[in-house]
């Protein structure tokens, strides 16, 4: 394991300046309700405007409408969107995860069918991994795909599926055969969320929002053409998928805006020395995490596989998101009201209610520690 320090080159800094100017122009502060990092609202028009600038599907091949850009360039764009609280919910999963997966293991036909739509900011995706009885222990999934004429019949239930009620496709991890080794016999399939037999039931979140779903698959027909990658290779495929997902700025920026907005609403008031210390410590920690996270993107561009590094950053970054929130909350001394007139208070209230998810989603910190420790011992 090794993090190698890197910084943005001139070209990457120019991209950063372009994204900042675009956001200031099209989404000025005060003109929209910012979200907490990757929980930003879903706004297809915004995703398409971003795509028109070439900032969706950046890492995908140009022949399918992508930018064939480096991981560091995608990092720069993602970082600016996240810290701005931009409404990235429509394209986020497709851009970060599903598009790159299809580009890597998909068939030519799948690439032609999906990647251009992803790159235009049109197609949206969900992640179909967890099940009622399979959370951290993903290899225990029981959703089954049974071969049939021209494809598969898929039966089972996926849970915690963010956006399934409004997104287009879900890439599901399913069992395609029984094997002694439970990591074998798993495959990934594309599920058209409009297909007959797909039922999406909301699982209301504790704050009353309804982005979370249970997706029941009742004998859903999946054509052969919608198998993703190699049959039986699903476990290896999701391992790589998660490795890419883990080290990015979405894993340490979720509560950044709570801090920024607190500073904004303090306005010209001279803050307490204790707040200056809090602000300094938080700024230093953001800077330190960003150095690590950027180094992971650079490592991917250099052809290395920084999966242990990504697990370390995600474990540390998500804990920091929660710790920072607690520090600001303690300092602000108020009764948080999600309907307050103050944006700071709304962000704070929203963050308090949703922050426990930060150290759970996409792999709990307990699982990440096991993954990281294994890598450290190797």
């Amino acid at each position: 394991m090794q993090f190698v320090f890197t910084e943005l080159d001139e070209h990457e800094r120019a991209l950063q300046a372009d994204v900042r100017a675009f956001l200031a122009e099209t989404l000025p502060r005060g003109s929209f309700e910012p979200g907490l990092g990757m929980a930003g609202r879903k706004d297809p028009a915004f995703s398409q405007a971003l795509a028109a600038r070439g900032w969706v599907g950046m890492s995908l091949p140009t022949e399918y409408g992508g930018g064939d850009r480096a991981a560091v360039e995608r990092f720069v764009v993602a970082e600016e969107l996240l810290r701005w609280g931009a409404p990235l919910g429509h394209h986020w999963v497709a851009d970060r995860q599903s598009g790159p997966l299809l580009a890597k293991v998909g068939t030519t036909e799948q690439k032609e069918r999906f990647l251009p739509g992803i790159c235009r900011g049109e197609l949206s995706f969900c992640i179909g991994m967890s099940e009622p009885d399979s959370g951290s222990d993903l290899a225990s999934v029981v959703t089954r795909a049974t071969p049939t004429d021209g494809g598969w019949i898929v039966r089972g239930t996926k849970v915690w599926t963010t956006g399934a009620h409004e997104h287009d496709w879900m890439i599901a991890l399913v069992r395609t055969s029984e094997a002694e080794n439970r990591h074998a016999g798993l495959s990934q399939v594309l599920i058209d969320l409009q297909a007959p037999g797909v039922e999406v039931h909301p699982i209301p979140f504790l704050d009353g929002t309804r982005d979370f779903n249970e997706v029941v698959l009742r004998d859903v027909f999946v054509p052969d053409a919608d198998l993703v990658g190699t049959e039986g290779n699903g476990w290896a495929q999701i391992g790589q998928e998660l490795a890419f997902e883990r080290g990015g700025p979405d894993r340490w920026l979720s509560t950044y805006l709570v801090l920024e907005q607190y500073v904004r609403e303090l306005g010209g008031q001279t803050p307490d020395l204790a707040f200056v210390e809090l602000l300094g410590a938080a700024t230093a920690q953001f800077w330190g995490l960003r150095n690590l996270s950027l180094s992971i993107a650079r490592a991917i561009d250099d052809g290395r596989q920084p999966s242990v590094e990504a697990a370390l950053v995600k474990e540390m970054g998500t804990r920091f998101e929660q710790d920072l929130l607690e520090e600001v909350r303690r300092f602000a001394e108020l009764e948080p009201d999600p309907q307050s007139d103050s944006l700071f208070e709304r962000l704070l209230a929203n963050a308090i209610l949703t922050s426990p998810a930060f150290t759970i989603r996409g792999g709990t910190i307990e699982i990440l520690r096991t993954v990281a420790a294994k890598g450290l011992r190797a």
């Binding site: 394991m1 993090f3 320090f5 890197t6 910084e7 950063q16 502060r29 970082e79 810290r83 950044y256 801090l259 920024e260 907005q261 500073v263 904004r264 803050p271 020395l273 707040f275 200056v276 210390e277 809090l278 602000l279 300094g280 410590a281 700024t283 230093a284 920690q285 953001f286 800077w287 330190g288 995490l289 960003r290 150095n291 690590l292 180094s295 590094e309 370390l312 474990e315 540390m316 307990e366 990440l368 520690r369 096991t370 990281a372 420790a373 450290l376 011992r377």
Partner: protein, 365 residues
């Protein structure tokens, strides 16, 4: 980028491993000085890297010197390596003064220090001076009539009272009772007490980064060897958390050090250096706790080398800035940047401050 000659780092790592053995580090603590270790390291010219050959140094860049100090921290080398070249050499070369032969120390500048230069003569008392009792020259930065002034003093002309840090490294009290310095000259432009503090801070961060890396490695080694309940300790999830957190601190601080070193080669790097030292200071406490917990009683013994690292980390976190002072430095910069530019400070560091400070004089060090 921080490119360091691999031959240089190999040489440093080898010399430190050969001479700063467990026994030699113990002996140095008992004696307050390790003359043989110093002679062996001095032989290689390592203490004078980053000081130009013209000024009597070994040449090389700031990044080279930082890597040497980092490796010295890894091996718990009990010598004034950072003081001799990176700090004293920098002050002396900038002031156009000659480097004394041998080890040199620098007065860090504690708030209670009272050293003044009056009519060319030094009066007063300074504290926490590394290895003052053993060096061949003491260098101090003072307010002179024409601005910051560098002086070199013969230690024999002062009174030295012994004091140590938690690792038993000398941090002596030096009294100047009407001492005429060997030499005095105006400091280079931009070199003042704050600049010295920044450079000292960067040097201590480097040593801490090395120590944290070694701490993480020792913890992995111990917990993958020691068995309890029929399994190695590292098989237990609760113990894995200690491994992971130790590694995170080591990586966070080493990367921050590299970032701060690059920024320091470019300008004052006030934000990056204070941020890196702050991360190192926090890591010193937290990573040491994780390492000790993972080692159990063995880590508490004198015979096991963990304390060579943890006692140094617990000391260095208070030298050239601590968590409070560093968080205030970064916090003031962040407050001045304001909400609209706060993230630019995170992402762009000192560069974000350039447009904000346009027109103000800059003190490049």
């Amino acid at each position: 980028m921080t490119t360091v000659d691999p031959l240089l780092s190999e040489t440093a790592a080898r010399v430190f491993a050969d001479h700063a053995t467990f026994a030699a580090v113990e002996q140095a603590e008992a004696d307050g000085w390790a003359p043989a270790m110093w002679a062996a390291v001095a032989e290689t010219g390592l203490p004078w890297v980053s000081v130009s050959a013209a000024a009597g140094g070994s040449g090389g860049t700031l990044a080279d010197a930082i890597e040497i100090v980092r490796l010295a921290g890894f091996h718990a080398v009990p010598l004034p390596l950072a003081e001799t070249g990176l700090l004293a050499g920098w002050l002396l070369e900038g002031a156009g003064l000659e480097l004394p032969a041998g080890a040199v120390t620098v007065v860090p500048g504690a708030p209670a220090d009272s050293l003044v230069l009056r009519d060319g003569v030094l009066h007063g008392r300074v504290t926490r001076v590394p290895w003052a009792r053993a060096v061949d020259g003491i260098v101090a930065l003072l307010d002179g009539r024409d601005g910051p002034t560098v002086v070199v003093v013969d230690p024999a002309s002062t009174q030295i009272g012994s004091a140590v840090n938690l690792a038993g490294e000398p941090r002596d009290t030096v009294t100047f009772d009407g001492v005429t310095p060997r030499a005095a000259a105006r400091a280079a432009a931009g070199v003042d007490a704050r600049a010295l503090r920044r450079r000292g801070s960067l040097a201590r961060t480097a040593a801490m980064a090395g120590a944290l890396e070694h701490l993480a490695a020792l913890t992995i080694e111990y917990t993958t060897t020691r068995r309890q309940f029929g399994r190695v300790l590292a098989d237990f999830q609760a113990v894995q958390a200690h491994l992971v957190h130790g590694a995170q601190h080591a990586e966070l601080v080493n990367t921050a050090l590299a970032a701060a070193t690059v920024a320091a080669a470019r300008g004052p790097a006030e934000m990056e250096i204070a941020a890196a030292k702050l991360l190192a200071d926090r890591a010193a406490g937290e990573a040491s706790s994780h390492a000790h917990q993972a080692h159990g009683a063995m880590g508490m013994t004198r015979e096991y080398p963990l304390h060579h690292l943890t006692r140094r980390l617990w000391s260095w976190r208070s030298e050239y800035g601590d968590e409070q002072s560093c968080s205030r430095v970064v916090g003031e910069l962040a407050r001045n940047a304001g909400a609209d530019h706060l993230y630019e400070l995170v992402a762009d560091g000192s560069r974000a401050l350039e447009p904000l400070a346009a027109g103000e004089a800059r003190d490049h060090t």
